[in-house]
């Protein structure tokens, strides 16, 4: 199952990256009242492909004084850490990935390995901008793992499991174990039969909206996205830890970055927004949920599951892009104080509330 997940995801990731890079440029252009890439392909659609081809042709440079071996290995390590995370993700009811009992925990652990790759890349470059970016990146990722983990812990506490597939099941109409799933936690409003968005974690447990917000902010920081793109702040550090990279290796870093965006979006969707379940509920006789979920055990369920999961995740990615082009970059002190003074306490409060809710 792991192998099949990766074999599906690797081409998907490439395609997704090409599209998302294009989307990012187009979206930013629209938000800035421009057109964006228009030359290559229809409406500039092949611009990213052209860029990729150009990148692949570029010389693979290693700076003088760099730690050659580490310099070459670091991008792969980054990508490996990110890509290993995908192996744990369930894609559909019948496609659970590596369904481990400690799934989300392991996922967080693997994501945290990403920072080591970044540190090595920055260190091996023998460049002060890289070094600065590395230090910032490491500090940022380590810090934001705390609110991220606590936000995830809220869901885990609510779900009573670390298994991602189990969390996914719980948010589906075919919930196992079967039991009432109250909309907004209001006793009596059992939405189990309705399914759809009504049984998503954020809707059955409203506190998780806050947790999701915290998770989202932290995930932006984890993937070094604006407004937390201090490690590669081009106005200060040229390109941060990736300053010295070029060609294919830089492409791999970019791929890892966009993959990271997708990964955290996927995790967010799985934990808060119903995973591979359809957002459409059964409204009485209008069995929207059933129609858009396929049949369990059939390929249709798998196809619908992948569609809904990826669709929601890509929407989240777009959301991240939107945020990037909306908010200015924070200062380092703002970054730290946001993490430790706001996100961490609020996530702790959330955890407390969820725990209390569970006890009730």
């Amino acid at each position: 199952m792991i192998a099949s997940t990766l074999f599906f995801l690797l081409p998907f990731l490439v395609l997704y990256t090409i599209l998302v890079v294009y989307a990012e440029r187009k979206l930013s252009a629209f938000m800035q009242d421009r057109l964006g890439p228009m030359e290559v392909g229809y409406y500039g659609l092949l611009q990213t492909v052209a860029d990729l081809l150009k990148l692949l042709q570029k010389e693979d440079l290693t700076p003088q004084g760099a730690d050659r071996w580490l310099f070459k290995a670091a991008p792969l390590l980054i990508f490996l850490a990110v890509f290993a995370g995908f192996a744990l993700l369930p894609l559909a009811p019948a496609w659970p990935g590596s369904s481990l009992p400690s799934g989300i925990f392991l996922l967080l652990a693997i994501i945290s390995l990403d920072v080591i790759g970044i540190v090595l890349a920055g260190w091996a470059s023998n460049n002060k901008y890289s070094m600065m970016g590395t230090v910032r990146s490491a500090a940022q990722i380590i810090s934001y793992e705390v609110p991220l983990g606590l936000a995830v812990a809220c869901v885990c506490l609510y779900a009573g499991t670390l298994n991602l597939q189990e969390i996914s099941w719980q948010q589906s109409a075919w919930a196992e174990p079967a039991g009432p799933k109250n909309f907004l936690g209001i006793p009596g409003l059992d939405a189990r039969q309705a399914g759809g968005f009504l049984v998503w974690n954020v809707f059955t447990m409203p506190v998780l909206w806050v947790a999701w917000l915290i998770f989202f902010i932290a995930s932006l920081a984890e993937s070094n996205r604006a407004p937390f793109d201090l490690p590669e702040a081009e106005s200060e550090l040229v390109a941060g830890f990736q300053t010295e990279y070029s060609g294919f290796r830089w492409a791999v870093i970019m791929l890892a970055e966009y993959a990271m965006m997708l990964l955290v979006s996927l995790v967010g969707v799985i934990l808060f927004f119903g995973s591979w379940t359809t957002p459409l509920p059964n409204l009485g006789p209008v069995r929207l949920a059933d129609w858009t979920s396929g049949t369990v055990g059939h390929g249709s369920a798998t196809a619908w599951g992948i569609f809904w999961l990826m669709g929601k995740a890509v929407l989240m990615v777009c959301f991240q892009i939107w945020v990037r082009w909306t908010f200015p970059r924070v200062r380092i002190d703002q970054l730290v104080s946001l993490c430790w003074k706001y996100l961490t306490p609020f996530s702790l409060v959330c955890l407390l509330l969820v725990a209390v809710w569970k006890l009730l």
Binding site: D67, F105, V115, I116, V119, A138, I142, E145
Partner: protein, 164 residues
């Protein structure tokens, strides 16, 4: 030889490579990378031994936390000179003799006692271990939390550059 054995010896190779890098490497960062491979290999071996939670903790805490701390230490203490920091070793002979003596003593005298033992596997699932931590070992667990807090504060206080 089962698949688990192959994985085990594979992880063993990774770990030995990491240990070798740590023991002889001239660059701190290589030694840190060696430590990373050791820790990851250990996590793999824990997983193979069905200690899933410990494997995850190993990755999360060691690979993601301790190693990053160490990398921080390397970066912050290596900035005085432009040239990459070289590790020097001293008393290599004495250290080798003691380490080898320790290894041989352990292998030759203590090791045979476990020749016949084979891991049965699956002793504690994640759930049972977690339950045990929160029931049987609650006090220890809480104390560990307090210890962590203390060390967090201690680390922050010691490392802060503000001095009286």
């Amino acid at each position: 030889m089962s698949a688990a054995d192959y994985f085990f010896y594979g992880w063993c190779l990774v770990m030995v490579a990491g240990l070798w890098a740590m023991a002889v490497s001239k660059k701190l960062i290589h030694a840190a990378l060696g430590l990373l491979s050791c820790l990851v290999a250990l996590a793999g071996i824990y997983a193979l031994l069905s200690a899933e939670l410990l494997a995850v903790i190993q990755l999360m805490v060691y690979a993601g936390g301790v190693l990053v701390l160490i990398l921080f230490g390397i970066m912050l203490t290596g900035r005085l000179s432009d040239k990459p920091m070289r590790i020097e070793s001293r008393n290599v002979a004495v250290g080798s003799v003691i380490a080898a003596g320790l290894f041989i003593t352990l292998i030759v005298f203590v090791g045979p006692a476990f020749l016949s033992v084979t891991s049965t596997g699956s002793p504690g699932s994640l759930r049972t271990l977690s339950l045990a931590l929160f029931s049987e070992y609650t006090l220890a667990f809480e104390l560990a939390g307090v210890l962590l807090l203390i060390s967090l504060i201690a680390g922050a206080v010691i490392a802060s550059s503000r001095q009286s």
